[in-house]
Amino acid sequence: MDISNEYAVQMRGIEKSFGTYKVLDDINIDVKKGTVHAILGENGAGKSTLMNILYGMYHADAGEIYLNGEAVNIKNPSMAIKHGIGMVHQHFMLVDKFTVTQNIILGNETANAFGIINMKKARKDVIKIVEKYGLKVDPDARIEDISVGMQQRVEILKALYRGVDLLILDEPTAVLTPMEIEELIDIMRNLINDGKTIIIITHKLKEIKASSDDCTVIRKGKVIDRVKVKDESKQSLAEKMVGRKVRLVVEKTPANPGGKIFEINDLRVKCARGIETVKGLSLSIRKGEIFGIAGIEGNGQKELVEAITGVRQVESGTIKINGKEIQNTGTRNVIDNKISVIHEDRHRYGVVLDFSVADNAILENYRKAPFCKNGFLDYNARDRFTEELIKEYNIKPERCKGTRIRRLSGGNQQKLVVGREVANNPDLLIAVQPTRGLDVGAIEFVHKTLVRLRDEGKAILLISLELDEVMDVSDTISVIYDGSITGIFNQKEADEQKIGLLMAGGKENDENA
């Protein structure tokens, strides 16, 4: 395609290496003005790197960038903003204690001669943009008090306030509820109607189908294909992204649950700030059942897991496994009662990043035979166990037992964590966002493992912010809202609309909400 001012962005022959590793290899991309352009690729495909180059965070080793047909050299993000490019990062860059308006004008304050900020004018400007694009944000609310979806809108507002024409959204739906995603897509449409251009980085096919016009597929740093989204199906996009046939639907036979094995009764837990966040929650899980909990972040999921694992004090209520009460008995006792956890934030809770892969493999069992004899560690036993895990779970690179786990990719780290927890042979496996940040292949693997364990008769508690994941994998789907379970469905009868409504605080059978 020729360089032309019909295109908001054109990138030609972009190359970028980190060390010996070539992240981007001869990338060409054309984003037409006034469209939503999706960049689709697995984690590590290079899509974020490419956009960070456009935004001036990284510098390409080779290649040119054209904006509206003119060659530009973007050296840093502030130059990018001057050129009318804005980016909303996956992790928001907001000051928690500031109000929405304060965050929006930060770094771009209009002040009088004495350096006093003209907040009135700023607030008016913000409200103007809010109304124009239907962004629905209270300009005076503090960031810490508003939902993640709102925070994202603040990020978008920040860019619009600076007058950008091109908006880059990096994995914008990762943290949103189904309804918030719909609202985001509406906002995107409004922006397009106003003549803006949007680039959306994602690996989620559903959202591409719903939001985008064009799509560039990137795999291992190379452009695989450029397509019109309306000509493609989710399946065909997925295959282009991964480079092989994939199963988008979790393959499993109907559940064959046995007796009740795990039970929570009227559980009450306070969060770190002393506020009760789990409010009389009850649930029960049977052997051979995947019990899913859907819900928006901050509805008590974190405290629920902390309470079960014994990290947080339970105020009242009981937690029973195999008929034995385990609340407030300490984490070690919980582990000894055959409860294992795959944590949401593996870097924080699941692994010790500066330990070797082998040392991480024995994190919970370091004090038990065969890894420990008379208080001394048996490194041979540890290494043998690690090698088995590496082989069984196909962890890459193969000879990594001595490497610090920090150097492994997220997917491979998670494989080790999953392998380790499964090797504990738990009666109850709690999986909290087990596929967060993983690519399609790794997600498939984690889901398969959960189903396999279920078929072996284990009970599985799956807690995820991604509704699709809960709906696809679980046999029983429940919704958590404001610290209690507000609805329980069989997988067959679960309805996304209804569940979405419950997640947002609506009542079951409430037609008007």
Binding site: G330, L353, F376
Partner: protein, 375 residues
């Protein structure tokens, strides 16, 4: 080339480069202030290596800082910053002095009791800091610094107390002879010993002219024990896990609070051992009124830093540190150059040690760039 890059990535290489840089900077400063750098460095070298007595003295002086270095390094490996080594050291010297004066048993009992009393008090001092952190969440740096001063004044109180103060001195009585840990102490001053040593110049130098004691051997054993504890036992695994990621440790069923108290207990015991061995091994075998810290604990911080918190590395870092201080005194004596030049040297070395952490990173980059060229 590849081999060189591999060598560059080794921590020991970084350390040597840092030490070299420290010497270069010191030489420049000596030059700038009007002293002959080569001559000065030669004096320093001779001050340490020219006589067996000097080497022995360096070894003796290294004992306390190796141990306080170990204390800091151990705490650091378990995620704690033990700036309280100084206070733990002083507390132990008080305890050992008091017990050493009060008791007079057979050496076989006296020596272990005197040393253990110091170790125990040091351990309690450390554990108290750990307890405050575990129970109330008070940062260990704050409590340690306060406790350091408290201990300093406690030291002065005991040194001035009627029970222990030696008249017309600034300190207490020395501890009873039965608690002394010098090697061949009785023999070397006997008729037989003296006549034997007269014929052996080297041994005469080492034994008779110094306070050669068992401390250094104990310090090496302690370093090995700390290394085994940290890297070979399940307890050590637990402590290191807490040090690197307390959240993961908590979820793995490790009691982080208990771990903190235990770590500080061991760290305190190590500093305490330093103090106890100093009282029993080096004259004047007592405690003095202190107007300022003697820095045996704080120097341990520098030792641990130079050793990158490696227990075995502390032995070498402690020896080097002690050598530099010893050589500095000699430098001042012989050329009139301020002994502060040694402090500058040590400071520069510590600075470069921190700086050389990037050498492996640079080496890594070179390796990659080269392999790209090959492509």
């Amino acid at each position: 080339m590849t081999r060189m890059l591999k060598i560059l990535k080794k921590p020991v290489t970084c350390m040597l480069i840092a030490i070299f840089c420290g010497f270069v900077v010191s030489a420049l400063i000596l030059f700038a202030t009007g002293y002959n750098p080569t001559q000065s460095l030669a004096i320093m070298f001779n001050a340490v290596f020219s006589r067996p007595k000097f080497i022995t003295n360096v070894i003796i002086k290294s004992t306390p800082i190796i141990l306080t270095g170990l204390s800091v390094a151990f705490a650091f490996r378990t995620g704690l910053f033990n700036i309280g080594a100084e206070g733990q050291y002083i507390a132990a010297t008080i305890a050992s002095t008091v017990v050493g004066i009060s008791l007079d048993l057979h050496p076989i009992l006296q020596i272990p009791i005197v040393i253990l009393s110091g170790v125990l008090v040091g351990a309690l001092w450390g554990a108290f800091i750990g307890f405050l952190k575990a129970k109330f969440g008070i940062h260990e740096v704050i409590t340690s610094i306060m406790l350091n001063w408290t201990t300093l004044y406690l030291n002065n109180y005991v040194a001035n107390s009627a029970r222990f103060h030696k008249p017309e001195s600034d300190g207490t009585y020395p501890i009873n002879d039965s608690g002394l840990t010098m090697i061949l102490y009785n023999w070397k001053f006997s008729e037989e010993g003296r006549s034997f040593l007269k014929n052996n110049q080297t041994l005469n130098d080492i034994l008779l002219k110094t306070d050669l004691n068992i401390g250094f051997i104990v310090a090496i054993i302690a370093a090995i024990i700390v290394w085994v504890l940290l890297y070979k036992t399940s307890k050590g695994y637990e402590l290191r896990t807490v040090g690197l990621n307390p959240h993961a440790a908590k979820y793995a069923g490790i009691s982080v609070n208990r771990s903190i108290v235990f770590s500080m207990l061991i760290a305190g015991a190590l500093s305490g051992l330093a103090g106890a061995l100093y009282v029993t091994g080096s004259s004047s075998h007592n405690i003095h009124v202190l107007s300022m810290f003697e820095n045996n604990g704080f120097n341990g911080l520098a030792v641990a830093l130079i050793a990158s918190s490696s227990p075995i590395g502390c032995i070498f870092a402690g020896l080097m540190f002690s050598g530099l201080i010893y050589a500095g005194q000699s430098l001042q004596f012989k050329t009139g150059a301020p002994s502060e030049i040694v402090n500058i040297m040590i400071g520069t070395i510590v600075f470069f040690v921190a700086l050389t952490q990037i050498i492996p990173v640079i080496a890594d980059k070179f390796t990659r760039r080269r392999s790209e060229h090959v492509k």
